[in-house]
């Protein structure tokens, strides 16, 4: 039971981390290697609002998420737009931005264990004999809501449909009057906001450290590769797969091996099924 509950929580956390990355890649085909940096940035912005400006907590969270979204949009608008369509340049440029942000933060002295965010609600309750704190329950609740919201957003709103059109065939979308550059900015801003959302939900469980940026990026990439790059359904599925695998590893083998799971998942996927669990699109193309 413990394994199930914590596996579920872990999976939802992974899904939250990976969704932003999957969204940006799915729409603009840009692998956003600055994803982890945006995650950490949102954590620090929230921290600054709460601790330095002493705004109230929910307001700071919303402001921080919006700022992160804007930062993401600006990164696309001023830098990534110039290398669009060149896979290697996109990776180098976005990774360089991520590195600059993370190491810049470290250089400005944002390091050590002093930066923490308060949990949303203290205390815990017993769930089938397992203690679960309220904060983790909130994480699960928000995570499920976000997945549902994304589904509705991409299937029933104009912008969402436009985003999906672009993900499938950018030029055909252009012919219908969907402005691909504007959509890519929206996707990048939205993806960054999702990274920020993951940050404000998950960071209160630990410290805000620069290293978290690298871990988050790695996890996001692992989830997206296993699920099939660009497939959001695949990303959620893969989050559950890796999430449970991680918890099982922690319980039966040892906590140090947790990160190995993600890396092993990448390697196994690339050997066995390079297009990922839900990389249907590519297969279809190959068949035709």
């Amino acid at each position: 039971m413990e394994i199930f509950i914590y596996g579920f929580i872990n999976s939802i956390s992974l899904a939250l981390i990976a969704l932003g990355f999957a969204l940006v890649y799915g729409i603009s085909r840009i692998p956003n290697f600055a994803h982890g940096a945006l995650y950490v940035v949102c954590g620090f912005i929230t921290w600054s609002f709460v601790r330095s400006l002493e705004l109230n907590y929910p307001l700071s969270i919303i402001l921080a998420m919006i700022s992160t979204g804007i930062i993401g949009g600006l990164i696309y608008l001023f830098i990534l737009i110039r290398v669009r369509g060149m896979a290697i340049s996109e990776i180098i440029a976005s990774y360089a931005i991520g590195l600059a942000i993370l190491e810049g933060l470290r250089w400005r002295g944002f390091k050590g264990m002093t930066y923490t965010l308060p949990t949303f609600k203290e205390g815990s309750l017993m769930l089938a004999g397992t203690p679960v704190d309220y904060h983790r329950l909130i994480v699960v609740g928000v995570g499920v809501c976000i997945v549902a919201f994304l589904w509705i957003f991409t299937h029933h709103t104009k912008v969402g449909l436009g985003l999906r059109a672009m993900a499938q065939d950018e030029r055909a979308a252009l012919m219908l009057g969907i402005d691909s550059d504007r959509m890519a900015v929206v996707a990048m801003g939205f993806g960054s906001m999702l990274a920020g959302l993951a940050a404000v939900l998950l960071l209160p469980l630990g410290n805000i450290v620069v290293e978290a940026g690298y871990n988050v990026l790695l996890l996001a990439i692992a989830v997206c590769i296993v699920g099939g790059l660009g497939s959001w359904v695949g990303a959620v599925m893969a989050a559950f797969l890796i999430g449970f695998a991680q918890i099982l590893t922690v319980v039966y083998i040892g906590p140090h091996f947790q990160m190995v799971v993600a890396l092993l998942a990448i390697i196994l996927t690339l050997i066995l099924r390079p297009s990922g669990l839900f990389g249907r699109q590519k297969e279809l193309e190959e068949r035709v």
């Binding site: 060149m86 999906r164 055909a172 252009l174």
Partner: protein, 248 residues
């Protein structure tokens, strides 16, 4: 409606369109006929502005240098260099060669995506109209685009373009690879669209015969140049054209 004068398009040093001038009046169906690589698709890309996007992408990747020259007047306004989404907003919608429908989305979703530029009421009204002229689509609403037959996909592609509220519809080889029966359906639908919606249409084909009965005016492209133009009757009576494009 649309007037293109002396269009020249170069891919590096290769001349894809050489001094092409074509025009399409209000409520007209204009045919553009030519063999493979005559420049039909390049012409459609130039009119719809997609060429600007291709050019931008090539420039960014350091690929082919594409040059577009000439004048392009749409409803009296010069639209040369305007981005494809701006032209789409102005009412020039391209229904591309090989259809390019969204293969992972269902039929109804493809149509809803097409309605990106339409208002809510326009989208509802047009959706009804699309199902009226292509009843087959209404039955396949939930089917995923990739699993449709070629003819169904072409109906969907035309329907999707209609959803974008065109004033000038560019149909790039809509009949390619389809059975004569489906071809007849599509040709009839094309004329209906012009008659009932007041949409001007430019249609390209390799083989002129199926569409010729509905065109008001036609141009013949050869190696990137418009070698001949005229009304339907003019072309019908031209012996060269008859043998080359009608197979008579």
């Amino acid at each position: 409606m649309l007037e293109a004068r002396a269009l020249m398009v170069f891919y590096e040093n290769m001349l894809a369109l050489n001094n092409v001038s074509i025009a399409c009046g209000e409520d007209q169906i204009v045919g553009v006929f030519g063999a493979n690589s005559a420049g039909k698709s390049t012409l459609m890309y130039t009119l719809s502005g997609i060429i600007e996007d291709i050019k931008k992408k090539e420039e960014m990747a350091g690929g082919e240098r594409i040059t577009v020259m000439g004048t392009l007047l749409y409803r009296g306004r010069d639209i040369m260099g305007l981005s494809p989404s701006r032209r789409a907003k102005a009412g020039i919608i391209l229904c591309p060669e090989r259809r390019r429908i969204f293969t992972e989305s269902s039929v109804i979703e493809n149509l809803r995506i097409g309605g990106y530029l339409a208002s809510g009421s326009q989208a509802r009204e047009t959706l009804e109209y699309v199902f009226k002229i292509f009843p087959a689509l209404a039955r396949l609403k939930k089917r995923v685009g990739g699993f449709l037959s070629g003819g169904e996909q072409q109906m969907l592609a035309i329907g999707r373009s209609l959803m974008a509220q065109p004033r000038l519809l560019l149909l790039d080889e809509p009949l390619m690879g389809l059975s004569p029966l489906i071809q007849a359906t599509l040709v009839r639908a094309t004329r209906e669209i012009r008659d009932e919606r007041g949409i001007s249409i430019i249609v390209t084909e390799q083989y002129a015969r199926p569409v010729l009965p509905i065109v008001n005016h036609a141009f013949i492209l050869e190696n990137g140049s418009a070698v001949l133009e005229g009304t339907r009757e003019d072309l019908m009576n031209n012996p060269d054209v008859r043998s080359a494009y009608f197979g008579v």
